[in-house]
Symmetry: D4
Subunit: 235 residues, 8 copies
């Protein structure tokens, strides 16, 4: 084990002191380095973003405050700030879309920021993505109005707060993978998304999987893991 | 206040020492005295049941173990044991049904004991009641197959464990009162019904109300409160 | 099932992109479209309110900040801002009151915002409503002073924070439906309404039902479901 | 500090290896050594009980299984097993009652074991005690029927499960100390007494204090602390 | 029961619409009407305070913001603002102290606001009170330095956050009643006082009772209930 | 909407009274009807299993007690009982494996029942599957010993109790979809799998998704959704 | 990284299929392979124990039922079953004790099984260990009676259930490392050790560290990590 | 016991009224008096700091707001403000380092404040300390790159938020004591550090101990307890 650990120690990463950039992860796991803005100072976000942008891959910063986003965009003219999603993207070069399509459905208007974080992340990960908002289960015809498009998806990301019932209903309607994203929308015993999360983990629709509350980014990454791999599965 | 309290003290009830039977509650609230079996000894359940049966009203015992139920039925030939509902009823005299109908829908086969407790209670409370089982949201056509009957109800009792989504979907389909009953069906983060309860309290279908986990009895009482009163509301 | 879903897709709703207005729900469930302000931007609230107001039904916006409320009132001269309830109403035409009366009782002065949300919602839903505030159980004569009025109600909405005991006491005094609303009033192990909610769900008064913490709106909708239906139950 | 600790080390106690009997606590705090049976083996309970009984004070064992209780009673002819309270007492000599009276009120029949543990403990602590059972708040006249006796108490112990509202109502009716005991009676979101406990800690009746769930013993000890001291307060 | 309720309805209280002042509670339970400032608007606090001050009893307002306190003091020259305790008192006439003494011990400097709320409340309730601060269990000699004074108390109020161990240690040292007050001091798994509360409810010192987190007011009321009654217990 | 609901009502399912068999779900979602044994009586499990077995698809019963399993196997000679997995399978006809491979890794020996439930489910769903047990993160070389096989997977199911760290480490090593299954293995603050679940939902490895505690069945269904769809994604 | 992982794969361990024995961990971390009996079948425990015993190191099995323990002792004559600790040890050869001494203090008699698990584990890890039981904080002189011995320790393991105050008091008395072990002793809001755990994590005695509830084994391992290392720290 | 308590009362401490400075604790437990800034007013922090600085030992203030820190530094020219750690140190005299070395590893950039609090505390406690940041388990080669340094440590402090897996992986790599510090980094079901805390307490790496969430100070104190004692353990 000793030698193995020693070998691991020779692998390259870039050390900023407070952060270690793992440029190989892109190759290893299929993702670019991502800057998660929460809990980092403006200076840290900017410094990490700059180092990432020094390379050739796309860059994504999530959970960034408006002020920080503007600072990034000032520094990088081609960077784009997605206010609803609280994200900044820097797209370096046109790349082909990954085969397969993602559909994002969200239960209510208030779930929009999370759905948008998922959409922006899918996009920067080169996935094709379509969004249907405000299709919660208390008015099912709003959902079924988009049923053909939802059924055509290769991955569905279902975003919902409150009682979190949308993934169960969708999971019963489609055969493809369904990634459920609880949101912190609601109040009282919604406990900032906990009710929705618990509902989704107890879904009676078999095979629905779940990510953390408000984690639109993670759901998009899960979709990327699925579709990136799908192309290489031999039928 | 002193006099008021003193007056209250003159009201009649029957004192068994460990229990005080409030025979006036039937008149005051519309319910017979009910024996809640949980946490009472066999002797206590039997003694309370006997005193209740000495009167002329119907009697209901809930959450009674099979052995206790048999002892009651041995003592009272006309008592009926409802094994699924874990309840015993003693119907003293034919009474007219309360106007209006209750429909009970339940999400899965495992929710049956709770749905049955609700059904048996509705029946002993002189309500007309119909039950549709195993109509969970992951296969919506099972629910909609009974839609006409559900829509004809004056009160719907929606029973579900796991993610507890059924009341939200039903609440969007009907205009009448919907009483949601979470059940302890499920495992893991279902937390013995807590996930379903939280989902129901966060329902996006406005005006759905909720009772305690597995409280089929309470849901039926709520239905009785609604329908007993409904007849006297002048249109 | 395929055709059924396809048919659902032909049902009308109005699509604002971030919101889908379900004008048929008024007909289907007896409620107007309601704007829930929490978690929506000022622009979203205004846009949805405008579209709703383009129709002929009454409009209700809940959980709206003062600034947003003023913006609505500026745009619609006949809109009314209810500061205590944090709600805006737009009443389009005189309509007859639904038969039956609602009584709202609240335990303390601090529960007022929730009681007011319930009152304003009842009013816009065309229900007759009366309010008795500050009648908590530690001074029972304040409650019993209004006993005749409470007993005359067809639905009682009982609003309480802290230990949430009011619905249990009221539930033992009246035979009509009792909808309990826990409030986030209190501190420490009140856990922002959780103690009151748990108490209400465990009420020893049979047939009391419960809505989410601070959900005065939901309680009023439940009352509307009950009274709207009551008129059509044939005695 | 060193010397102080060294001095403490010279104080007497009896060392059984797995237990250290603090015979001075009776003098120091006013209580006899008590054997808490939960989590101790039959052998440990018997050994501790024997050592305690070797002295001259009264002995109390709580939470003892029937088999262990019988073993104690076989060994000590004058020991008494209180089955409802799951307690054994050994009264060594007639002692005068402490001035002042305790009243125990309990909400339901199922709360009886806890109320009995409190009663038996009061008795062995030489307190005068009276019990009123099944006086829950959903039928207030059962409570007010005993109002004079309750008002005459110097300490009230209020025992309740489910929504735990009894101490709030009692606390508003009497001026003396009220010790609230939540019980594990109930189900679902009662969470084995947690709902009642939280309600009691949030009581709107000022100055109500609370002990652990099912802790009838502790409530009686609190009453003893109060009444033992009361006699020496100079009016 | 009907008549009893009707009689209760004739009892006097003063109705401000949003509040019902129960001037008889002072007589009934031994307390003045108290204004709990949390969750009330400035206008409500002022209005209630004014009505209370129109009588002849002392007045206490707790949990009042500095601005509200100043407004009260401007209006009533003799009112006193206790900043640490976030309380305002209005003492109308010299009254004799209740026999018996209260000692308040607190574990750390950060617990001061709660200890002060208890002290100010004891004082306005005419109790003699002494305070020992910063005597937590990690340095026991700070506690034992005041042991004689603590032992002389007729009631001890023990205030502690973090692990809440102080009441257990004090409860083993004194024979008089011990009222434990958990505070929200701490962080992480202290959960704003929950750890201290749970510890206190599980105290191995028999007969310790507990009030809600940060409820210094409630602990003082409990002390008043004890001492007010003590004088009338005949030795 | 009315017509749409009516149409849904014409869809076929088989009604056993207490259960409605949805034979179309196999076609609609890619799964056979599955019998979930928890909370169902022996008679119900047998009856549902028989009806399912009357068709031509494979049948799977999960969470079945040994006695029930034997009863099934007695009735159906070709049924197989998987004791570790607490599952029974009935394979009706040889079918081709779905392209792509699943690897199941589990952290400890005690996680075996959950890993086996996943394996048996994958198998009956026609997926190719390989299992590596006892490869927890406190001895990383046990995990890396199987790294080539894990890297070759198209879906990884990572099963772990206790601190639930395995999916985070695996998620950093592979680019394919990772489905995390928390198990109830552990004690104390493991809270029967909650600690592992929470850890997995907070994984720092992007794109890991999670199912309910002990839900090996659900993880396998998620793998089936992924691989069934993968074949049809055009590269 | 690839090569590093590949190298890790060449490290030796013994593969039993359901378990992988890491014989190098003894060398790497200073511990023998330990069999954790919880959640493993009798056959698995026996098989793992046998393989471990085939080597030359000591073997420890924890959380083993009496029946399993007897089976081990039947197979290995020199194995010893410690019933209180629910552990089996197999000591292969006399080895010198590690320099330094461990003192275990426990609050009550019911904490004995956990204290014993810690003692037995210390012993098999070649640590010198001394135990003082039943020295809880409500009778401090029982603790201070052993103060010299406690002060002489190089590591103190403090075991307590209920309010978990013992480590705070001990932590203020000694300068050496204190490892706190909460136990599941208690009831009600003790929540099977959670109250004690939370108290210990919030200890006002700086530098106290904590292990999982009932984890006497883990505390002993922590002591071994400390003392094994201490010898090599150059003064 | 009486005398012992009386003796304790003669021990010296400095009484500021709201705080009692225990200058002997430095001698008794090896720590200087530390000012914990949370929950104290600016005036209290300053007053306590001044009294501490009047002595000759080093002084540490933690959790101090920037403004308070500046006030301290203005008053004491040699005081140093560590902004990342939110701490102020005052080093009075050069003292030799304690033998042995501490290594702090932290999982992500956002954990920096906690890691820094640990580092600053170690330093003022005269420990040698080295820090490796951003070495979380999803990119193991970043951790193993520093493996030699980590292995050379006599104590490792492992700081991590989110899923808290770092201490488990490190605990499997080193034989020395590992003190785990969960941080409040994360969101959703991270519950402000609770997920990480629970994971660490359930670590499969034996002998890892844990401190409160964000308690970098406590982890450093634990390291000091270990290393201060280590020097005196005779090998």
């Amino acid at each position: 084990m000793e030698e193995a650990f020693a070998r691991l120690a020779t692998m390259p990463f870039e050390d900023l002191g407070f952060a270690k950039l793992d440029h190989h992860r892109g190759i290893r796991c299929g993702f670019p380095e991502v800057v998660f803005g929460d809990g980092k100072t403006r200076e840290q976000v900017l410094a990490i973003f700059e180092r990432c942008a020094a390379g050739e891959s796309n860059v994504l910063a999530t959970r960034v405050a408006a002020g920080v986003a503007e600072a990034i965009c000032t520094r990088f003219g081609e960077a784009v700030y997605h206010a609803d999603a609280r994200a900044v993207t820097l797209r370096r070069a046109p790349r082909p879309r990954t085969p397969g399509g993602v559909v994002i459905v969200s239960a209510g208007t208030s779930d929009r920021p999370v759905a948008e974080e998922a959409r922006v992340t899918c996009d920067i990960l080169d996935l094709s993505v379509q969004v249907f908002q405000d299709v919660g289960v208390a008015g099912l015809h709003r959902l079924t109005a988009s049923l053909d498009a939802i059924r055509a998806a290769d991955v569905v990301i279902a975003v919902a707060g409150m009682e979190g019932a949308l993934p169960s209903v969708v999971g019963g309607m489609v055969a493809c993978p369904v990634v459920a994203v609880p949101t912190s929308v609601g109040y009282g015993v919604g406990f900032r998304g906990l009710a929705a999360l618990m509902a989704m983990l107890n879904s009676c629709a078999s095979g629905v999987t779940v990510v953390n509350i408000d984690n639109g980014f993670g759901a998009a990454c899960a979709a990327a893991r699925i579709l990136n791999r799908a192309s290489s599965v031999e039928a």
